[in-house]
């Protein structure tokens, strides 16, 4: 008598089977994992750019300061870099010839026995000059373009641009 009552109650209040629970868990995990990965990997890419930014900015500043000094010392002909196609003249090779810049890039791209020429595929420095609205000033532009260390694309994904207004000598 008692057993029949219990059985009837159980049938009336039938819950979820283990299989159903497992299925729900699997569907939940299948949905949540790609979302979590999206946040983690997306955030990581952003962080890498933030990390690389101070290094590249410092190198670009260094180039610009050196050029400004060369102009003051009368050793730099701005006309050589004027009227280019808007992108500027590629000065990457002369920039990475410098030992300290090369070392900074080496730390930037990893230290596994690589020559400076390897950086040519990873970064590009473009220099251009143009007259400014003030006839006494000239505008010098440095564009530093770079790729992440694992990217082999020919198109550069990241870049910074520095401008300097310099009085004509």
């Amino acid at each position: 008598m008692n057993t029949n009552v219990i059985q009837n109650n159980r049938k009336a209040r039938q819950g979820l089977s283990l299989l159903e629970v497992m299925l729900a868990v699997v569907i939940f995990i299948l949905g949540i994992i790609p979302l979590l990965r999206l946040f983690s990997e997306g955030g990581l890419a952003q962080q890498k750019v933030i990390r690389d930014f101070p290094v590249t900015l410092s190198i670009a500043e260094r180039i610009l300061m050196t050029i400004e000094n060369e102009i003051d010392e009368g050793r730099f002909d701005t006309a050589m870099f004027t009227g280019t196609d808007g992108n500027g003249v590629d000065i990457t090779e002369s920039v990475i010839e410098n030992q300290e810049v090369s070392m900074a890039l080496e730390k930037f791209y990893g230290t596994d026995n690589q020559s400076a020429t390897r950086f040519l595929t990873q970064c590009r420095v473009l220099l251009s000059t143009k007259p400014s609205s003030d006839p006494n000033l000239i505008e010098i532009t440095i564009r530093f373009l770079w790729n992440d260390r694992d990217t082999n694309s020919k198109d550069f994904k990241h870049g910074i641009e520095l401008h300097l207004l310099k009085g004509k000598i």
Binding site: V26, P54, S58
Partner: protein, 169 residues
Amino acid sequence: MLDMINGKKGVTIVEICVYAVIFAMFMGMATGVFFWAKKSLDVTKRTDDLQDLRVASTQINTELSYGNRVLFPPVSNRSFSQILFMNDRNELVVFFRDEDAKLKLINYEKFKAGEKSGERVIARNTIEFQAERPDANLIKYFVRITDEKNVEHVIANAVKMRNTETNGP
């Protein structure tokens, strides 16, 4: 219990094994997410170190660019490990790496007067600090530091002296 009493089957060992395998597979996928999260944390720490280094570089640039006179290093193509100069308030200031691997700025006048701002730590865990003065008004430098995991970071920058009229060789 009642099902078993009634002769109904529970969960077989094969079913449990299948569930365990599925569970393990999804746990493996979930671990991947934690791996990315850990990597993201590491990159955050490195970003923090590099930003500190960038701040150090900005401090060096700010102090030096308006300096009145550089006393050391001399104009040459050799690298030296400290910069001694008179700042825009004509106070004697030195950048150097101390024995605790800290890159420090000491304002001698303030330091002598016992002022707290007389001694500032610019960067910690500094392996190397090199400065070169190729021209009277240009100082190129690089700072090399390590983080907790002994990963090296390098910032290479240059400072163009702005008070050129008073800044002799």
